[in-house]
């Protein structure tokens, strides 16, 4: 094992933390499910052969089975005693394979009027799942159907299960910003990281025989440019910054206002992507009568994702929203509105990549 990479490891009962930690906050009340984050990431990083099926940034519809399918039910991370929870490697089909289409037949084979575009997986089969198969299905019964979008990337965890699972020490957490990276010269494609990650955000490149995942756009970040997913987000909901920067939006949302919550905190890896939980629309009955006392998205469902503080956070958001609508000042609402882009959303990473 490469003992040099101690950051992010628990050694002799002590978790070695980085000097600083970069984090993101996603305001779920602003996500419109457009997948521009996914596409900007794809175009920037995962266009090579062997990466076709990789989506380092995904947007899942909740409630839903997610990417990969059923990722919340297959283990990984740490149990309550801090022991690793065994898991399994998700398959390409569970992640959603990069389909091929019969373009030649339809467009050039003269059969355009008798056949149609049909997707096939790498195994040559008709797909029955994809990276975003259950988009916009959601949950609930009419007229109280509901859904919201949950963008997901690698959480660059404070105690990454992937890092400790690797028998080669190929995964490391950078001391100065806490970004978790896979050293692909050290990686041998054993895929224990894919099992150990409870968020299932690591992909396998079968051409290069290595694991690959979100790199927090570190080459951009090092030049003062925000990660592609954050900069391209039309909803402007992806805040980026250092957790300890008291003047920055991340610190204010996570530690001062405490409205940004980790996803599945019980997995024990201490993720560094935080979510402002979605304010639910009210329930309605079959006659269209609104009942503001009953949220359409069940609170216990949200608590299952974001923990026991959901109710408190939603109440605070409502209270501050009410203040703002009465013309009273609200620092929290001003933060979430993001009046001045990009300075208000990723103040340390405002450089335009086109000007590099």
């Amino acid at each position: 094992m490469n003992e040099k990479n101690v950051v992010g490891r628990e050694l002799a009962g002590t978790l070695n933390k980085p000097n600083r930690q970069l984090a993101m906050v996603f305001d779920l009340n602003k996500c419109l499910g457009c997948h521009t984050c996914s596409i900007s990431c794809k175009r920037q990083w995962t266009r090579e052969e062997g990466m076709e099926q990789q989506w380092w940034a995904v947007v899942n519809t909740q409630p839903g089975l997610g990417t990969p399918k059923n990722w919340e039910d297959i283990g990984g991370g740490w149990d309550a005693k801090g022991e690793p929870r065994p898991s399994k490697i998700p398959t390409r089909d569970e992640f959603g394979d990069a389909w091929k289409f019969n373009n030649d037949e339809v467009f050039h084979g003269g059969k355009g009027k008798v056949t149609y575009l049909k997707p096939v997986t790498t195994k040559g089969e008709a797909p029955d799942w994809g990276p975003n198969w259950d988009e916009d299905e959601g949950g609930g019964e009419y007229p109280n159907s509901h859904f919201f979008y949950l963008p997901r990337i690698c959480n660059h965890c404070t105690h990454p299960a992937c890092l400790e699972a690797c028998p080669r020490g190929a995964i490391y957490k950078r001391a100065d910003d806490g970004i978790v990276l896979i050293n692909d010269k050290q990686c041998k494609g054993f895929r224990f990281c894919m099992e150990a990650c409870p968020y299932k955000r690591i992909y396998y490149n079968h051409v290069r025989d290595v694991g690959q995942k979100c790199i927090f756009c570190f080459p951009r970040v090092e030049k003062g440019v925000a990660p592609a997913c954050a900069r391209q987000c039309p909803g402007r909901l992806r805040f980026v910054g250092y957790l300890d920067d008291e003047n920055g939006p991340i610190h204010k949302l996570v530690h001062k206002w405490k409205v940004a919550l980790p996803l599945h905190q019980e997995y024990g890896t201490q993720p560094n992507v935080y979510y402002v939980p979605p304010i639910s629309p009210p329930s309605v009955d079959m006659n269209g009568r609104v009942d503001p006392s009953r949220p359409r998205i069940p609170q216990d469902y949200l608590e299952g994702l974001f923990g026991p503080r959901v109710k408190e956070v939603l109440a605070l958001l409502e209270a501050e929203k009410a203040k703002k609508s009465k013309g009273q000042p609200s620092e929290l609402m001003d933060l979430l509105i993001v009046y001045k882009w990009p300075n208000d959303i990723f103040p340390d990473f405002v450089r335009d990549p086109a000007e590099l």
Binding site: M1, P84, P86, P90, T91, A165, P167, F192, H206, D209
Partner: protein, 216 residues
């Protein structure tokens, strides 16, 4: 065991079905499961502690040399042939030989200052083996993937693989073995059953050295 000299060409030496190999005497090497307690990470130990792995019990080893090359024929039982690496859960079958590069090199992947040389064949690259060097678990580095030729066959639920290399390499990198007549050296073996998702330390291995003497 004696690495007997036979005057045949590379094609005959490299063919696992060749007559020279039928005539050669083999050594049956016993293998055991690499213990869960020996696994380098808590995750791997937790995942595999109650699962069967490393169940390949024996490996039949034969060794021959001709004027310029040394060859090993390794044969073991593996009912399923796993050679693909497309699906995330695909792990190809594999076999490896380990040679100590110092008197004290530990049998399990070597140690600091006591490296080992590894010849690693895996079914997704059937025609060559990789030459690695390691100084402890998780430290193996590829020296080259060209010098060791391989020819493999899976039939009747058994793999037969011949690994073949020049006795001496012209520009040996640090950690490369050089062979000469009369040389005495030690080796040991490991087998991975890809169908059981075996890789890394999840394997069967031989816990004792096999001594080899090169025929003049």
């Amino acid at each position: 065991m004696l690495v007997r000299r036979v005057d045949v060409d590379a094609a005959q030496l490299g063919d696992p079905d060749g007559g020279v190999w039928r005539a050669a005497t083999g050594e049956v090497v016993s293998l055991i499961q690499a213990p869960a307690a020996m696994q380098p990470t808590k995750y791997i130990a937790a995942k595999w502690q109650d699962k069967p792995y490393g169940q390949t019990k024996t490996l039949v080893v034969k060794a021959l040399r001709n004027a310029g090359e040394i060859a090993f024929r390794l044969e073991w039982q593996d009912k399923t042939k796993n050679e693909r690496r497309i699906e995330n859960t695909d792990f190809p079958d594999a076999v490896a030989m380990l040679f100590p590069l110092s008197e004290q090199s530990p049998l399990i992947m070597g140690g600091e200052g006591a490296p080992v040389s590894l010849w690693y064949w895996r079914a997704d690259y059937p025609t060559r083996a990789r030459n690695d060097v390691a100084s402890g678990i998780g430290t193996s580095q590829v020296l080259d993937a060209e010098s060791i030729a391989a020819q493999a066959k899976h039939q009747d639920g058994r793999w037969s693989v011949v690994l073949r290399r020049s006795l001496r390499l012209e520009k040996p990198l640090d950690g490369t073995l050089q062979f000469s007549a009369g040389q005495v050296l030690r080796t040991t073996f490991a087998v991975w059953d890809g169908g059981n998702l075996e890789r890394a330390g999840i394997k069967a291995f031989s816990p004792s050295w096999l001594e080899l003497t090169l025929d003049a």
